[in-house]
């Protein structure tokens, strides 16, 4: 069965990609993913804010106590080899690239205009095959309108596009007023694809300690529905690639995502829970499913249930939800 697919201009043998997660944190794990047959690996994001905060904290730890007392001019060893900034991440990109043949997609979350550009350039130079721009921000400022926020995102994509040649995907959250409009604008700004969706750390409340505790729960198949709606809505309207990131755990989940328009599905929870062996099960399972259902290839199926081709596209619209509710009857 032909499971091949194109994603961000990369030709992949099948749609199963390891999503940004601890799965790509070490060269060894990447090698294991490759051996297990992964189509591509997305590395965890380089967070500009984190890089800076750590550099500042370390700087403070080092110089904050220097030259304070006659007995000790410093308290930490001097290490000229130690470089703060993105180097650790870039070295990892280089090392993974050297270790595996499958495409390696880096990911970036910057917090300053220069940060997006400089780090994207550095990732490009490090040899990544593509770059995910991870728009991982929660709108908290009541003074900033949705339009301004979107304009900022567009500006980032434009400037990164100008700065690097490698393919760019934009990873979004579902919380935009008009996702299709934003998607088209991102595409015009230079994005080669979209990754749906980001998962935020969600604040939980510790009612005893009266503290917020950030937590991140892995997705399950039940969440897939949100993904399917937006894949389907966007697939018919954008020219670039679409990745479903989240909610895909089974062969049927993958089938649904591809039917709704996904070029690839990014697996995280499925591999963390089921191990990398799950990749082969899914690939074989997908091939078998296509076979059983008389498909010639994955491409034939991709987008078959998007908004332009689904038998009843109104099911994707909000009003349909109302109707369903109204017709719901107690047994």
């Amino acid at each position: 069965m032909d499971l091949s697919t194109d994603y961000l201009g990369l030709s992949l043998p099948h749609p199963f990609v390891a999503g940004a997660s601890p799965l790509g944190d070490s060269v060894e794990r990447c090698r294991r993913l490759e051996a297990a047959g992964v189509a591509a690996i997305v590395l965890r994001s380089l967070f500009e804010e984190q890089v800076e905060q750590e550099a500042l904290a370390h700087h403070q730890a080092e110089v904050g106590h220097a030259d304070m007392h006659g007995e000790a001019l410093s308290y930490l060893p001097a290490s000229p080899d130690q470089v703060f900034g993105p180097e650790e991440y870039l070295a990892h990109v280089r090392a993974v690239k050297r270790a595996v043949a499958v495409p390696v997609i880096a990911s970036l979350n910057a917090c300053t205009p220069d940060g997006w550009i400089d780090y994207a350039r550095a990732i490009d130079a490090a040899g990544a095959d593509a770059l995910e721009l991870n728009f991982y921000a929660v709108a908290t400022d009541a003074g900033e309108s949705g339009a301004e926020l979107e304009d900022r995102a567009i500006g980032v994509v434009q400037s990164v596009r100008r700065a690097v040649r490698l393919p760019i995907a934009v990873k979004l959250s579902p919380f935009y007023t008009s996702l299709p409009n934003l998607a088209l604008r991102l595409e015009s700004a230079g994005a080669d694809g979209l990754v749906l969706f980001n998962r935020f750390f969600e604040p939980d409340v510790d009612v005893e300690a009266l503290e917020l505790r950030p937590r991140l729960d892995w997705s399950d198949s039940g969440e897939l529905l949100l993904w399917l709606r937006w894949l389907s809505l966007l697939s018919s309207q954008v020219r670039g690639s679409l990745a479903a990131s989240g909610g895909v755990h089974t062969v049927v989940d993958a089938v649904k995502a591809v039917m709704c328009g996904a070029h690839v599905v990014q697996l995280v929870a499925a591999l963390l829970r089921g191990g990398v062996g799950r990749l082969q099960q899914l690939t074989h399972g997908l091939a078998a499913w296509l076979e059983e259902h008389g498909y010639r290839s994955l491409r034939q199926m991709r987008g078959s249930m998007d908004r332009s081709r689904a038998p009843d596209p109104r099911a994707l619209e909000r009003v349909q939800y109302m109707r369903l509710l109204q017709t719901y009857r107690l047994e």
Binding site: A57, H59, Q60, E62, H69, E71, A72, F84
Partner: protein, 1201 residues
């Protein structure tokens, strides 16, 4: 431009660079002020920097200096070239091996930053008492006088040791030379390669112990041959001076710098000559020049080669005209005929005369004197006083200079008005705080001047004794020509005060020359600065006609995002005002240096520091100075008027920086010092302090427990006590059943708080409606200082709780007890001091502490003030520091004494039972001790009653018992120290003391590094942690001291982490104290050397426990005696990955930055170690022992009766 072969470095680096490049093995151990040499050697080796032979030296840290000397000895016998670095007590520990090195004619060099040997007190500062203690070993001894020589004579020592085979001790003055930064001409690798005798290196190799050419060394010889064999080496020592001279000549040929073993400077026809070693030589030479210019006939003879002391060469170096010789020794040998250099000079002159080598006709008079002990300043005025003294008809021998000896009247009068050299370079003095980066910026400025000009530059830095809020004073000199000025700047043309509040505490302007520029960092607009100055400062500004400038550098720093680091901002201002370098060039160089220094620390660090530089000058303003001082405000008194007489007279002078002026009579002659004095030192160093909200507080007392400085306290008291309370004094009703109807207050000591924020971090009480608000909230000190100070004064006079009324000595109960350890100079957020404070709360009124040298002895015993306090009855911890290495033995000695005197008192009591009229009293006094607070109170009452009954009795035994009666109240003996002591240098002694049955309690404050000397690895350093001497991560895990100790069976052993489980710590300390045999408590102590903000110290302790890195357990032999498993794992580890714990601390994280694979390996290893540790402890915790278990020695100390 300066030559590329110059560098601006300190004396330690100058010496270490030569030692490193001419060695193959360096065995090291940290000790101030020589630690830097070992650190640099280790750093260079870690970088793979080769020596001149093309190999990377092997640098190994040992467990003590004795160990380092042993390793060097072995390496040398094995045929490698080896060196070591040390000072003071460290050098003393090497002495046995030094005899061996000399006896076996083993070429090597020890580089010594000469430092005071501890006598009546420890001192980290420089004198020659350590090197003088080695003169009997037979080592050749070569003394450098300045940073340039520290490099050059290091090379000459290495050259001469190889050709002579006599091992060398190369020394220079600790701090004065070791820490002075000066511009020097560097020795290139090629120079060293060319200067070393490679045939001698081959000869050394040929003598290596090897089975290919087997020989035996270290035989035991008998009376028949030892003597002759010892004399057989004479020729080597006889030829050694020639080897030195020859090395000096070859060195001069290569470098143009000519040194002489005995170097005369001055009038060739001088009648008075001062003989000296070390940096003071330069001061004397400059003064001799001045005196000669006035027509006096004086000179200075600098001794560089002290051993072998060559009488003829020494005599020949003296002018034949000399009539009086003054010999200055930087050491003291009580009881000697004279100090050692003086004795040598006298003997040398006599010898020279006897063999006809003396150039004079009349034998000169020789007198000796002492100067500069413990780094005491030796100024031109003091040098002039020595020359003046020698002019006397019969100058006094055994004089001192630099102090006022009003007890034995040996000191010389000094004319302080004696002018410094007229050719003095330009000078500047900067006052700052340790944390604000002033010293770092000044070091950088000196380097900039050194590099940007062909002139000479010098920097010297003075630190106070505190580790938090320490005042630093930077002394900078620079000029077009080379100069040496090994003394502090007197009055400078530029004075800066980087912390405005220091103007209230220190006489900053005593360093200002008339017309000088004064730069202030002031948190006010320039037009308000004058009005904010105290009257005394205004008056000095007017009198000295100072030109004042001010900048709100903290605001600039805050805006630029560099926190409290105002260093670069003030640096730019200095360059702008001091006119030492074109400002544009200075700025470019500062910026380049920021880029260079911080390049690897990330763009943001660079960007912020550059932004601070950019913004500085726009905020620098001239301050208009009126014609007269007009402030109503006076500088506050150094200590409160209520302070005791000693504090007023002595401590206050030291606090005000006038300790140098105190006469000998001010001091106890045996080092005994009063406790309870830190309370008089009000420093006000916190930017913000906690303020208590009684509406939110839940009375848990965790804040008071965790405060490292006893600066936040809890009291419970009768409401009537509030009658005279200040307005608004906060209180709430006590909620427990133990003190019904009483009130409760938490109060901060605003002037003693360091602002670390730990109390707020651990406070669990949140406002229900606004959980962001806790019961404690950090508030800017300026806003609340006056109010909270008044409240704290009132709070202190509230009655202390009756110790017997505390029903449960848990976290809450213990914190109602008065801390008898307060306001120490420990770092903000220190992880050690909460344990000590708790110790004093639990047992303080009967506590004896033997304290190993280290952080705890510095914040515990470094003058001017002492944090150990007394309760209202005048009882409190008695504290002593013997040494670093002998603390366990020292503490055991205290215990033995207490036991002996207790036994004596009990015996006397038995004997006098009939006479003191009361069988009940005697029986009760001698009854077994339940050691409850109530019993202790009653026992003290019984002792008082006994004394009352003994008083009228005239019997000698009665008087003796009267004196000893307090020993009927049990004492609690604690041996306190850090991991460097317990795991490394003192381990042998500790192990032995634990093996004995005596009732000592050991508290190991485990910071997992040598914190005091700057974070060098110890055997407690965990796997994968970067520390000095393990900069790429420690390759093996820490020693499990607890596990080792519990195998004795009779030792109470516990591991605690107060931030993780405070209740456990409180309970375990009581169990340890109650155990009648030895107890060992190992306490996790977060430290700045771990590399994170210590406000999170408690959180990180929790992670250490949760990950299994730090198991909480106690092993109580008494449980075993009851048939229960003696080991109890008190808090099981949870599933937190060790790597998550590690990644929170820079010490681990920096390893990941350098080598991610190594980090992963270490993290995996640490995880396995934690798993193994937990499994081991859990296994032991299941073991029950069939019989009453503990070892035979586990019983209490035998009753002397």
């Amino acid at each position: 431009m300066a030559s590329p072969h110059t560098a601006t470095i300190d004396g330690n680096e100058a010496a270490a660079s030569v030692a490193y490049r001419l060695s193959e093995v360096a065995a090291i151990y940290p000790i101030t002020p020589s630690s830097t040499m070992g650190e640099l050697a280790d750093e260079w080796a870690a970088q793979g920097r080769p020596n001149v032979f093309g190999t990377v030296p092997t640098v190994v840290e040992m467990q003590s200096e004795g160990g380092a000397a042993g390793a060097v000895h072995g390496a040398l016998q094995g045929g490698a070239l080896a060196a070591t670095f040390t000072a003071s007590q460290g050098l003393l520990l090497m002495i046995p091996t030094l005899f061996k090195l000399v006896g076996e004619l083993t070429p090597c060099v020890l580089h010594i930053a000469a430092r005071t040997v501890a006598t009546h007190a420890l001192s980290i500062f420089g004198d020659h008492s350590d090197v003088m203690a080695c003169r009997q070993t037979g080592l050749a001894m070569l003394g450098s006088t300045c940073v340039q020589e520290a490099q050059d004579l290091a090379c000459i020592a290495h050259m001469a040791t190889l050709t002579s085979r006599v091992p060398f001790l190369h020394f220079f003055d600790g701090f004065r030379t070791s820490h002075e930064i000066a511009k020097i001409d560097l020795l290139a690798d090629d120079d060293l390669r060319a200067l070393v005798d490679h045939d001698a290196v081959r000869a050394h190799r040929a003598r290596a112990l090897t089975p290919d050419r087997p020989v035996l060394r270290g035989s035991a010889q008998n009376p028949d041959v030892f003597f002759q064999a010892r004399e057989a080496a004479n020729g080597f020592h006889d030829r050694c001076p020639l080897a030195v001279e020859s090395a000096m000549a070859r060195f001069a040929e290569r470098t143009g710098r000519r040194y002489r073993s005995y170097d005369y400077h001055g009038d060739p026809a001088a009648d008075r000559v001062v003989v000296v070693m070390g940096s003071a030589s330069w001061t004397l030479r400059a003064v001799a020049d001045q005196l000669c210019a006035r027509g006096e006939r004086v000179g200075v003879l600098t001794v560089r080669l002290y051993r072998p002391f060559v009488a003829a060469a020494f005599a020949a170096a003296l002018p034949p005209s000399v009539r009086t010789i003054g010999v200055l020794d930087r050491t003291k040998e009580p009881g000697a005929v004279a100090e050692p250099l003086c004795v040598d000079v006298i003997a040398a002159l006599r010898q020279a005369e006897q063999v006809g080598a003396a150039p004079w006709t009349a034998s000169p008079r020789v007198v000796g004197g002492r100067y500069g002990l413990s780094g005491k300043e030796f100024t031109p005025a003091m040098a002039a006083a020595v020359f003046a003294h020698l002019r006397a008809e019969a100058p006094r021998h055994d004089f001192t200079v630099g102090i006022q000896d009003d007890v034995t009247h040996r000191s010389l009068p000094v004319d302080e008005a004696f002018p410094a050299s007229p050719a003095a370079p330009r000078e500047a003095v900067f006052f700052g705080l340790g944390a604000d980066g002033t010293v770092g910026a000044n070091k950088n400025s000196i380097k900039i001047l050194g590099e940007a000009t062909t002139g000479h530059a010098q920097g010297f830095f003075v630190y106070d004794s505190k580790k938090s809020g320490a005042i630093t004073v930077s002394h900078l000199r620079f000029g077009p020509d080379r100069f040496e000025a090994p003394y502090l700047v007197g009055r400078a043309g530029f004075v800066a005060c980087h912390q405005f509040h220091l103007l209230d505490r220190v006489d900053v302007l005593r360093h200002a020359a008339p017309g000088a520029v004064l730069l202030l960092n002031a948190p006010f607009a320039a037009d308000r600065v004058w009005d904010e100055l105290p009257f005394e400062v205004q008056q000095a500004i007017v009198d000295l006609r100072l030109c004042v400038h001010a900048i709100d550098a903290d605001a600039v720093a805050k805006a630029a995002g560099v926190g409290g680091r105002i260093n670069t901002i003030m640096q730019v201002c200095w360059f702008a005002l001091a006119d030492v370098l074109p400002l544009a060039e200075a700025r470019l160089r500062i910026e380049a240096s920021i880029r260079k220094s911080y390049d690897r620390k990330g763009d943001e660090v660079v960007r912020r520091n550059l932004a601070a530089v950019d913004a500085a000058l726009a905020h620098l303003h001239a301050v208009p100075v009126p014609a007269a001082a007009d402030a109503a405000r006076r500088r506050p008194p150094t200590v409160a008027r209520a302070a005791p007489e000693f504090v007023q007279r002595v401590t206050a002078a030291m606090l005000a920086g006038r300790g140098d002026l105190l006469p000998t009579s001010a001091f106890p002659p045996d080092g005994t010092w009063p406790t309870d004095t830190a309370r008089w030192e009000k420093r006000g160093i916190a930017a913000a302090v906690p303020v208590w909200d009684p509406a939110v507080c839940i009375q848990c007392n965790k804040c008071a427990l965790m405060c490292p400085h006893a600066a936040i306290r809890a009291k419970v008291y009768a409401p009537a006590a509030l009658a005279s309370a200040p307005d608004g004094f906060p209180r709430q009703e006590w909620r427990g059943k133990d003190f019904p109807g009483q009130d409760y207050t938490i109060q901060v000591a605003p002037d003693d708080c360091t602002g670390c924020g730990l109390c707020v971090q651990v406070c669990p009480a949140r406002d229900k409606a606004n959980p962001r608000h806790k019961a404690l909230e950090m508030t800017p000190l300026r806003e609340v200082r006056e109010r909270e100070s008044e409240r704290f004064v009132f709070f202190l006079q509230l009655p202390e709780v009756d110790r017997t009324s505390i029903q449960k000595l848990d976290v809450k109960g213990s914190q109602l007890l008065q801390p008898l350890f307060e306001y120490s100079g420990a770092c903000a957020g220190c992880g050690e001091t909460p344990y000590l404070k708790l110790l004093t709360q639990l047992f303080g009124d009967r506590l004896l502490i033997a304290n190993a040298t280290g952080c705890s002895s510095i914040y515990g015993g470094n003058l001017p003030t002492t944090p150990y306090a007394q309760d209202r009855a005048g009882r409190g911890p008695a504290w002593a520091n013997s040494l670093f290495e002998d603390n366990a033995e020292f503490g055991l000695g205290l215990r033995l004494s207490v036991d002996v005197l207790t036994g004596r008192a009990r015996k006397l009591l038995h004997g006098l039972a009939g006479l003191v009229d009361g069988e009940t009293l005697v029986a009760e006094l001698l009854a077994p001790e339940p050691r409850s607070e109530r019993w202790l109170r009653d026992q003290r009452g019984r002792v008082a009653e006994l004394r009352r009954r003994l008083a009228p009795l005239a019997l000698a035994e009665a008087r003796e018992l009267h004196d000893l009666a307090d020993y009927l109240v049990p004492k609690s003996v604690w041996l306190v120290g850090g991991d460097g002591w317990a795991f490394d240098i003192g381990f042998g002694g500790l192990d032995h003391v634990l093996s004995l049955p005596h009732d000592v309690n050991v508290l190991v404050l485990d910071t997992e590094v040598y914190s005091n000397t700057g974070g060098q690895a110890s055997k407690a350093t965990p796997l994968g942690a970067a520390a000095k001497f393990a900069s790429r991560g420690k390759a093996v895990d820490k020693k499990d001291l607890g596990l080792m100790a519990l195998h004795y069976g009779h030792v109470f052993v516990a591991s605690v982490a107060i931030g993780a489980q405070d209740a456990h710590t409180v309970r375990v300390l009581q169990l340890a104290e109650a155990h009648p045999g030895p107890s060992l408590v190992i306490a996790y102590s977060p430290c700045i050397a771990h590399g994170y903000d210590l406000v999170f110290g408690a959180d990180q302790q929790k992670r250490a426990v949760q990950s299994g890195v730090w198991p909480l357990f106690h092993y109580d032999p008494r449980l075993g005696e009851r048939g229960e498993p003696p080991l109890v794992v008190d808090v099981p580890a949870s599933a937190l990955p060790v790597a998550d714990y590690m990644r929170n601390e820079a010490r681990f994280r920096m390893v990941e930055k350098i080598d991610p694979q190594a980090f992963r390996r270490y993290a995996l290893g640490a995880q396995q170690a934690a798993t193994r540790r937990i499994a081991t402890y859990e296994h032991i915790a299941r073991l029950r022992f069939p019989s009453a278990g503990a070892a035979a020695g586990a019983t209490s100390v035998p009753d002397p009766e």
